[in-house]
């Protein structure tokens, strides 16, 4: 087995590159004052110093990581503990999972955001309501619509993804859990806003 640990080495190189970008590109271009600035005839620490120190810390870590990669230290350490090799533990399958999870979550929250206003726009007239959703965001039942709909999608999608089938249990949970959480916050507390009602 070669001493060389490619995964660890690449990880170190990636972070070294990132740190260099932080210190020499991002921080100088995206801060107003420099490392130090002269104010009222005195030198003071500017806004760029602290993030540069953070970048330096990442760079030191990255160099050590490269060093550990070259000597294969991490792999040996893990071999001694029956733990799978950590570096390079991020596979494309992992990234695929993360992407899917994010998409499901984002979709749930978009539904949460727009379900209520859409319902008011479509059904408001039938119920004889002229007000906008904004004016109704503290009124039952309108204020719960988006939250319960978005929560339903979130929970149902997650459970189905694991169980690989649609069960009655999953459906019940997806309907009841958002309702219970909504009640938990909304009934006892007057001032609290459930999502998405603070964004209006």
């Amino acid at each position: 087995m070669s001493k060389f640990d490619k995964g660890a080495l690449f990880l170190g190189l990636a972070f070294l590159l990132f740190a260099i970008l932080v210190v020499f590109v991002w921080v100088p271009l995206d801060t107003e004052s420099g490392l130090l600035q002269k104010v009222r005839r005195r030198w003071l620490i500017g806004d760029a110093l602290a993030p540069s120190v953070a970048g330096l810390m990442i760079a030191v870590g990255a160099c050590a990581q490269i060093f550990e990669g070259v000597t294969g230290a991490q792999r040996r350490q893990c071999a001694g503990q029956h733990i799978p090799t950590p570096a390079g533990g991020l596979t494309s399958a992992n990234l695929g999972f993360a992407l899917c999870a994010l998409l499901v979550l984002l979709a749930s929250f978009q539904i949460m955001r727009w379900f209520g206003p859409a319902a008011v726009a479509l059904l408001g007239e039938q119920f004889g309501i002229e007000a906008s959703y904004r004016a109704l965001r503290d009124t039952v039942p309108w204020k719960y619509l988006g939250y319960v709909a978005g929560g339903f999608v979130l929970i149902l999608a997650s459970v189905v993804a694991v169980e690989r089938r649609l069960s009655l249990r999953a459906l019940l949970l997806a309907i009841l859990a958002p309702l219970v959480i909504a009640m938990l916050y909304d009934l006892p507390f007057d001032d609290l806003l459930l999502p998405p009602n603070g964004d209006l």
């Binding site: 230290a73 040996r76 999502p195």
Partner: protein
């Protein structure tokens, strides 16, 4: 007002302030009820694989803030509840480790080494009783050390440390956390550096919010809850979800094992375990007092020390790992002794040592009126005044709440713990999505903006990737929390010394802190390189 007046006010604040109800004319204070409720919840949560103390603290905090508001009278009930969870979860963590060989936390992993074999021999109750006794002992010892040393340390810091030394001390703590928390000091440094970087987005002195790419949502940086909950809670939830999706849904059946006849934990058992509990309590307390080195290492070291000691004294007999109550005792005493001592750096320096401490600091920051650090230990400006220092009263309130939790632990913790063991255990795939929705809702309720939710999801992704890369997330979170303090103190030290760029090197103490910080990092990296020559003793 004197020291003891503050102690008394703190005790009164916990036991009788804002009474919820009365028993025989004795008012029962809100905080008292909250500590008890938190403790009970903590045991349940600790005993539920897939949940853990910090996760419960994270979810409870926004709800608690909704209940009690952000006024000063909210501090003790909220902190009391969180402390209750922290202590309860430590105890509860032993339950699934012993009964099902599924430790909920890494600390409890070593408990399973001896606890599960005992359970298989029908001695589950004996193992649970041992775990309870050891845990309560370690916890109480650690709290006593906290009560006596935190004020002394704080006063020393206040008296001997000027702004440059304070800056040096924060750098030292950071390097400690970065180099020693995870398996790899290199990744620890990267993790801590990322935490600092994220904390510095938006939050500068200039009007333009630095590092924000001109995004208005970042005008005041990333809200602390989005970062902490995203990386700690969502990251873990993503990882567990993935494991579930790949591994299929969790089965919840357990084989029944007939109980053995002798399930007592009596004087004989106490005598057998006492020396291991003693050693482990000291190890756990010492480790807990150092910022960043959590209960897992404490449990590991306590177990390892106990195992060596037992083997030396009982040559030839089957040792730890074969189902010895001494093994359970050594682990549980060590990991429980961490929680009290962990508050030493929190209260006296404002530096969190582990995830539980992070949430206590988060509570203090969210509610306001209590800024942990040396100044809280002042008797009203150091001079006898008429008025009490409200922050010192809170400190003693916290101590009283901890003692209260210990009393609960000794009196009914063991019973409750064994009772929780028979609770049905909810399949993880049903628990996780609900926890996720609850956490995100809690964040929204506090920040009232979907942007905050999206930020949290982003940090959840970061936490997930870091976990996959075996990069410890704790240095990230702790560095994030310390970042502002570090920059502020450095700015102030620089200004106060009239622009001395070498302020870190000009006083002996500041120089010592800075050099030690560098040394810690260098030694940790060297040790990692030598790892194969001298393998770490990690039990198995």
């Amino acid at each position: 007002m004197g020291y003891w007046d503050h102690v008394w006010l703190g005790i009164v604040a916990v036991f009788t302030a804002n009474p919820v109800f009365e028993i025989f004319g004795l008012p029962i204070g809100t905080t008292l009820v909250m500590v008890a409720a938190g403790f009970a919840l903590g045991i349940v949560v600790g005993a539920t694989p897939g949940l853990a103390g910090p996760m419960a603290m994270a979810i409870a905090l926004p709800i608690l803030i909704s209940i009690f508001g952000v006024r000063e009278s909210a501090l003790l009930p909220v902190l009391g509840f969180l402390i209750g969870i922290m202590k309860g979860a430590t105890l509860g963590g032993a339950v699934p480790a012993i009964l099902f060989n599924t430790p909920g936390t890494p600390d409890a992993m070593l408990t399973a080494y001896d606890g599960y074999p005992l359970a298989q021999r029908g001695l589950a109750r004996k193992a649970l009783k041992t775990a309870h006794f050891a845990s309560a002992s370690g916890d109480t010892f650690s709290d006593l050390v906290l009560f006596s040393s935190a004020p002394v340390l704080a006063i020393a810091v206040e008296r001997f440390l000027d702004l440059p030394e304070k800056t040096g001390l924060i750098i030292l703590s950071l390097s400690f956390i970065a180099a020693l928390v995870g398996r790899s000091p290199a990744k620890g440094l990267i993790s801590a550096g990322l935490g600092l970087l994220v904390a510095y987005v938006g939050k500068g002195e200039d009007f333009y919010p630095r590092l924000s790419f001109g995004q208005e949502a970042l005008n005041d940086g990333f809200p602390i809850v989005t970062v902490v909950l995203g990386v700690l809670i969502l990251g873990e939830a993503f990882k567990s979800m993935e494991a579930l999706i790949r591994g299929g849904p969790e089965a919840s059946t357990q084989a029944k094992i007939a109980e053995a006849t002798d399930n007592r934990f009596g004087f004989a058992e106490l005598r057998a375990c006492w020396r291991y509990i003693r050693t482990s309590a000291v190890i756990g307390t010492a480790i807990g007092a150092l910022p960043g080195i959590g209960s897992t290492l404490a449990a590991t070291l306590g177990y390892a020390a106990g195992r060596r000691d037992w083997a030396r004294r009982n040559p030839g007999k089957p040792g730890f790992g074969t189902g010895r109550i001494e093994g359970v005792a050594a682990t549980e005493a060590a990991n429980s002794a961490v929680s009290g001592a962990n508050l030493i750096p929190v209260l006296s320096l404002g530096i969190p040592g582990n995830a539980a401490a992070v949430f206590l600091i988060l509570a203090m920051e969210s509610i306001g009126g209590f800024n942990p650090g040396p100044s809280v230990f002042k008797l009203h400006g150091g001079v006898t005044g008429e008025v009490a220092n409200p922050e010192l009263v809170v400190v003693f309130g916290i101590f009283a709440a901890m003692m209260l939790a210990n009393l609960l632990n000794w009196s009914c913790g063991g019973l409750f713990m064994r009772w929780v063991g028979v609770l049905v255990h909810v399949p993880k795939q049903l628990l996780l999505p609900v926890v996720l929705l609850l956490t995100l809702t809690a964040i929204y309720v506090q920040l009232t903006s979907l942007t905050a939710i999206y930020m949290t999801l982003g940090f959840g992704l970061l936490g997930y990737v870091m976990r996959r890369l075996d990069m410890s997330v704790l240095p990230f979170v702790i560095a994030f929390i310390l970042a502002r303090n570090l920059e502020d103190t450095a700015r102030q030290a620089f200004a106060a010394t009239g622009g001395d760029a070498l302020f870190l090197l000009h006083s002996p103490l500041a120089l010592a802190f800075t050099l030690t910080a560098g040394l810690v990092v260098v030694l940790a990296i060297r040790r990692a390189r030598m790892a194969d020559h001298e393998p770490l003793d990690r039990g198995h």
